[in-house]
């Protein structure tokens, strides 16, 4: 395929080369559309796409986004490695969301009941059943919610896999090209202005994580969200212990053992949203230590596992904790996909598939109208 690298127009321009932008580009290219993806940073997948716990889960999710993620787990994840030609390490061996107190179990049961009403196979189990599934868990765990069709995957290779495949299909990715403004001409989206260039298209998808807010403000649209810094840690490769994705009612840690053998665990300190901000997601000195303490209470056997690195990233935390995936009729040609609130990875393939349909066909396989951009209302 010959690509004119001086061409600055395309059928669709996507702002943001995270997993949402890259995967949407891939599905749009499959439909025969020309696509340019503009990425402000130097790296593909530099935001939350590469900075997350790798969960591909349905349990614990809001009913508004459950149908989308359930559809993706049924239809896209099982064959994704084959489709992209990159091992995304998808493992569908269930998700335990652990509880240590009666209050935890009550929270988990509330979430489970809500998901069961949406048709998800999830149930509450007691401590003994938890340890029958994962014998390494301590006696402190008195119960859990168990969803056998949940799992995990590798966010790094999945994001770069979508990028690689989209690039092969002729999608142009341009990094270091920071979008500063979207400009309407005669009421219709037309120009995408970066720090150095001007691109043109009648259709623009803004999928730039938290940065979407500033970009959308240039056409008078606001998505209520905040940037919340979270951190994770990674152990050295350990002998294989378990396959499940893990989370807790208290959100003191979450994670899994990767195919490589290292454990990837995320955790919180209680100071999220209050960090000093120097413009980059820097791990605080409290984060990894605090997460280690949390993990050891659940997994005493991991106390001698060595931590090789820790890292952090920003969550684009939406006011109501579910994403915005929506056309914007008042700005013709504008589409939004952002505010995934820290659980955007597992839902990304399904979201991107439906985003491509939304842009190319004007209708989607799954009804995503509950995720519209204009759903936010003040409380009184």
């Amino acid at each position: 395929m010959t690509i004119n690298i001086n061409e600055k127009t395309a059928d669709v321009i996507i702002v943001g080369a995270g997993i949402i932008g890259s995967a949407s580009a891939y599905y749009l290219a499959q439909k025969g559309l020309s696509v340019i993806v503009l990425e402000g940073s130097k790296n593909i997948g530099d935001g939350g796409s590469s900075r997350n716990g790798g969960g591909v889960r349905q349990s614990g999710r809001d009913p508004r986004e459950l149908p989308l993620v359930m559809w993706g787990i049924e239809n896209l994840w099982p064959t994704l490695s084959e489709e992209l030609g990159v091992d995304v390490e998808y493992t569908q061996k269930g998700n335990l969301r652990l509880g240590k107190t009666e209050a935890h179990l009550k929270t988990l049961k509330g979430l489970a009941d809500r998901a069961i009403a949406c048709g998800l196979d999830v149930r509450m189990i007691d401590g003994d059943e938890v340890r029958a599934i994962n014998p390494y868990l301590s006696e402190e765990v008195i119960g859990a919610s168990w969803c056998p069709t949940d799992g995990h995957a590798n966010p790094l290779t999945a994001t770069l896999g979508y990028y690689k495949k989209a690039r092969e299909l002729g999608v142009r990715f341009i990094t270091g090209e920071k979008v500063v403004q979207i400009k309407k001409i005669k009421g219709q989206v037309r120009q995408i202005i970066t720090e150095n260039n001007v691109y043109e298209s009648d259709k623009v998808l803004v999928a730039a994580g938290y940065q979407s807010r500033k970009i959308l403000s240039t056409v008078g649209i606001d998505v209520p969200m905040e940037a919340l810094k979270m951190s994770c840690l990674v152990t050295e490769a350990e002998p294989k212990m378990f396959d499940q994705m893990l989370g807790t009612a208290e959100a003191d840690f979450y994670g899994h053992q990767s195919k490589h053998g290292s454990f990837v665990f995320g955790g919180s300190t209680g100071f999220e949203g209050m960090d000093k901000d120097n413009g980059r997601p820097i791990s605080s000195s409290l984060g990894a230590s605090c997460t280690c303490r949390g993990i050891m209470k659940y997994f005493p056997a991991l106390s001698q596992a060595k931590i090789v690195r820790s890292w952090s990233g920003w969550i684009d935390r939406c006011a109501d904790l579910v994403p915005v995936i929506s056309p914007v009729e008042e700005v013709p040609g504008l589409y939004i996909a952002c505010a995934f609130t820290g659980h955007g990875f597992g839902i990304a393939p399904a979201a991107a598939y439906n985003i491509a349909e939304m842009i190319a066909d004007g209708k989607t396989t799954i009804d995503i109208s509950a995720l519209r951009y204009d759903r936010f209302k003040p409380k009184l």
């Binding site: 690509i3 690298i5 130097k42 790296n43 593909i44 997948g45 530099d46 590469s50 790094l156 290779t157 994001t159 770069l160 990028y163 690689k164 690039r167 002729g170 142009r172 990715f173 341009i174 990094t175 270091g176 090209e177 720090e195 150095n196 260039n197 152990t235 050295e236 490589h260 791990s283 409290l286 990894a288 230590s289 280690c292 303490r293 993990i295 050891m296 991991l302 106390s303 001698q304 596992a305 060595k306 931590i307 090789v308 690195r309 820790s310 890292w311």
Partner: protein
């Protein structure tokens, strides 16, 4: 041929960098911790991985026990050479704490 990285730091990932041509020393181990070879790194560049960070995430080069403290410079040099740019034009991967692998029991008692 136009440069891959412009003076403003813009990189069009569709610019032609030429085909992947196998070299005699492609099986040389570059990242010893994760056992990644020179050929694998060169091939990854042609598959679109143009930065040290992307190669690291794609192949795990520099993600092992030493966290790239041994191979980081070599990986950067190989990517730069494949792209036809100076290594100085590429950013190194981010250094991440802890400096050496530390047991959870030890790290967890640091408050």
């Amino acid at each position: 041929m136009e440069k891959v990285i412009t003076s403003q730091g813009i990189v069009d990932r569709s610019k032609d960098i030429g085909p992947f041509v196998p070299e005699a020393d492609d099986d040389r181990l570059i990242c010893r911790c994760e056992e990644i070879t020179k050929g694998e790194i060169r091939k990854a560049v042609h598959e679109g991985m143009y930065t040290v960070t992307e190669v690291r995430r794609y192949l795990r080069a520099g993600m092992g026990l030493c966290q790239g403290q041994t191979c980081g410079r070599f990986v950067k040099g190989i990517i730069a050479s494949e792209l036809g740019v100076s290594p100085a034009e590429l950013e190194p991967a981010t250094s991440r704490s802890p400096m050496r692998p530390v047991e959870m029991a030890v790290l967890g008692h640091e408050v």
